[in-house]
Amino acid sequence: MDIKKDYAVQMRAITKKFGSFTALDQVDIDIKKGSIHAILGENGAGKSTLMNVLYGLYQAEEGEIYLEGEKVNIKNPNIAISHGIGMVHQHFMLVDNFTVTQNIILGNEVVSGAGVLNMTKAHEQIKDIVKKYGLEVDPDAKIEDISVGMQQRVEILKALYRGAEVLILDEPTAVLTPQEISELIKIMHNLAKDGKTIIIITHKLKEIKESADVCTIIRRGKYIDTVTVSEVSEEDLAEMMVGHAVKLVVDKTEADPKEVIFEIKDLVVQNERKLDAVKNLNLKIRKGEIVGIAGIDGNGQKELIEAITCLTKSKSGTIKINGKEIQNTTPRNVINHKVATIHEDRQKRGLVLNFTVAENMIIENYGKEPYSKKGFLNKKAMYENAKGLIKDYDIRPDNCEGLLVRGLSGGNQQKVIIAREVTNEPDLLIAVQPTRGLDVGAIEYVHKTLIRERDKGKAILLVSFELDEVMNVSDTVAVIYDGTIVETFKQGTVDENTIGLLMAGGAADGKNS
């Protein structure tokens, strides 16, 4: 295709190498002004790398970038921003103890006179953008106190505040509820109508179908195809992405639940602001059953999990596993009672990034035989354990037991955690957002693992902000709203809309309570 002025971004023959690894190999892409353009690919396919090249975070070894027909040399993000390119990263880049407003204006402060901040003016400017695109946020809340979903809005606002004309969204829907996703899609359409160009990096086929006009598929660093979204099916997209046909529906048999093994009674947990975030919550999980908690981020899920894992104190109520109360003890005690947890924040809570894969695999068992003998680590046992798990769970690259876990892709990092937690042979496996940021292939794998463990007779608690996931994988769906379980359903007895309404605080009959 020729270089044309009505294309916001055109990239030609982009090649990017990391050492001997070729992340991008002669990739071309053409993004029309005012369009919503999806970039689809598995984890590690190079889609984020391509956009990081556009945003100036990486320098390509080869290739050219044209913005509206003009050749540009984007050496760093500042140049990208000055060309009107904004990017919202998958891992947010916000200052936790700053307010929303402070974060938005950071690096681009409104000053009056001799370098004095003009917060009133900043407030107004932000309010205007908020209103124009319907991005509701509390401008005075601190980042550490707001949900991940809200933090993402702040990131989008930040880019818009800097005058972005081309907005790159890296995995934007990973943490949103169906309602929030449809709001985001609405926002994206508003932005596109206003002449802004949206590039969305994703592996979620459904959202591409709902939001994007055009989709470019990248596989293993190579350009595969660019298609008009309305002309292809989800299955077609999946096949192009993975390279072979995939099943999009979770395959599982009917659950065969046994006795109740885990029980929460009248649990009350306070959040950091000393407000009740979990309110008289009751929940039972039986052996051989997956209970999925559906709910919007910020309705007490985080506090519930922290209370179960004893990272935070429960104010009242009981949590029982195998008939024994574990609330208000220690994380070690919970693990000893055969509860294993796949935490939602894999880099903060799940892994020590500067440890090797092998070291991470024994983080709960390092003190036990055979990994520890008389106070000394048994490196051989540690590596053998890792080698086995790497093979069983298909963790890549091969033979990565001695590599720092930091160097693995998100999906493989997640596999390290899942491998570790599942091999702990827990009675209760808690999986919080286990597929966040993973690609179709890896998601399928995670779901299969959860179901396999269920079939072995384990109790599984799945917490996810993705309603599809909860509805497809769980045997019982429990809807959480405002810190309490409002309803539970057997899988298949209820539709997405009913649950969506309950999640938003409505009643099951459709009326707002």
Binding site: T330, N336, K348, V352, F355, I363, F376
Partner: protein, 375 residues
């Protein structure tokens, strides 16, 4: 080409480059101020290597800063900044002096008692910092700095108490000789020993004229022990996991608070050992009223930085540091160049070591350039 690049990526290469940069900067400074850098460096090296006695002195001087260096390096490795090595060192000297004066057991018992007093004092002093951090979340740098001053004045207080103060001096009494850790101390002062040494001038130089002592042996043992503790033991695994990511460690059931406490206890004990060995192994075997910090702990920070936080590396960095200080001492008398020039050199080396993360990056650039040439 590949070999060069791989070589450049090694930490030791970066450190050597940093040291060379230190020499270059100082050479420029010397030239600008009208001294010959070649002459100055000649004097410096002569001051370190020309006599066995000098080498011996360098090793003696290196012992305490190797240990405080290990203390700081260990803390770095487990995610803590032990700026309090100075205070822990002082506590070590105070406790060793007090124990060395109060008790007078046979050497087999006296030496362990004196040395362990210092180790315990330093360890407890470090543990206070760890406790305050673990229990109340107070940053270790703040508490350490304050505790440094408390140790400083506690030392001056002890010097001036009647029980320990030697009249008409600025210091305490000398510790009992049973606590000395000099090499062959009794023998070298006996008639037989003197006669033997007279016939062997090299040994005479090294053994009789310096405080050659067992400290360096302790320092090497501690360096190896700390390296093993960190890399090979279960405790080291815990300490490192807490240092790298305490949230993940906590979630995996590791007691974060206990490990912070232990880490500071160990760091403090090593710095305390440095203090104790200074008292037992080096003249004047006592503490004196201090006007300013003696900088053993702070120099340990430079040593740890030069060593890239490797406990074993601290041995070499400590020797380098002590060599520069000792050899540089003669600069002023020999050519009149201010001896501060050595401090500038050390500062420059530390600065460049901190900068040397650049070297691997440059090595990558070299690869890229090579590839472009190849095309």
């Amino acid at each position: 080409m590949e070999k060069i690049v791989n070589l450049l990526k090694k930490q030791i290469t970066s450190t050597i480059i940093a040291i060379l940069c230190g020499f270059i900067v100082v050479a420029i400074l010397l030239t600008l101020t009208g001294y010959s850098p070649f002459e100055a460096f000649g004097i410096l090296f002569n001051g370190i290597f020309s006599k066995p006695k000098y080498i011996s002195q360098v090793i003696i001087k290196a012992t305490p800063i190797i240990l405080t260096g290990i203390s700081v390096a260990f803390a770095f490795k487990v995610g803590l900044f032990n700026i309090g090595a100075e205070g822990q060192y002082i506590m070590g000297t105070i406790a060793a002096t007090v124990a060395g004066i109060l008790f007078d057991f046979p050497p087999v018992l006296q030496i362990p008692v004196v040395v362990l007093s210092g180790v315990c004092a330093g360890g407890i002093y470090g543990a206070i910092v760890g406790f305050l951090k673990a229990k109340y979340g107070i940053h270790e740098v703040i508490t350490s700095i304050m505790l440094n001053w408390i140790a400083f004045y506690l030392g001056n207080f002890v010097v001036n108490t009647q029980r320990f103060h030697q009249p008409d001096s600025t210091g305490t009494y000398i510790i009992n000789e049973s606590g000395f850790t000099m090499f062959l101390y009794g023998w070298k002062r006996s008639e037989e020993g003197k006669a033997f040494l007279m016939e062997h001038p090299v040994l005479l130089d090294v053994i009789l004229k310096t405080d050659v002592n067992f400290g360096i042996v302790f320092a090497i043992i501690v360096a190896v022990a700390v390296a093993i503790l960190l890399k090979k033991t279960t405790k080291g695994y815990e300490l490192r996991s807490v240092g790298f990511n305490k949230d993940a460690a906590e979630f995996a059931g590791i007691d974060v608070k206990k490990n912070i406490l232990h880490a500071m206890l160990i760091a403090g004990a090593v710095a305390g050992l440095a203090g104790a060995l200074t008292i037992t192994g080096m003249s004047p075997h006592k503490i004196s009223t201090m006007g300013t910090f003696e900088n053993y702990g702070f120099n340990g920070m430079s040593v740890a930085l030069i060593a890239g936080s490797s406990p074993i590396g601290c041995i070499f960095a400590g020797l380098l540091f002590a060599g520069l200080l000792y050899g540089g001492g003669s600069l002023q008398s020999a050519i009149g160049a201010p001896s501060e020039i050595i401090n500038i050199m050390i500062g420059t080396i530390v600065f460049f070591v901190a900068l040397t993360k650049i070297v691997p990056v440059l090595a990558d650039k070299l690869v890229k350039r090579g590839e472009k040439h190849a095309r």
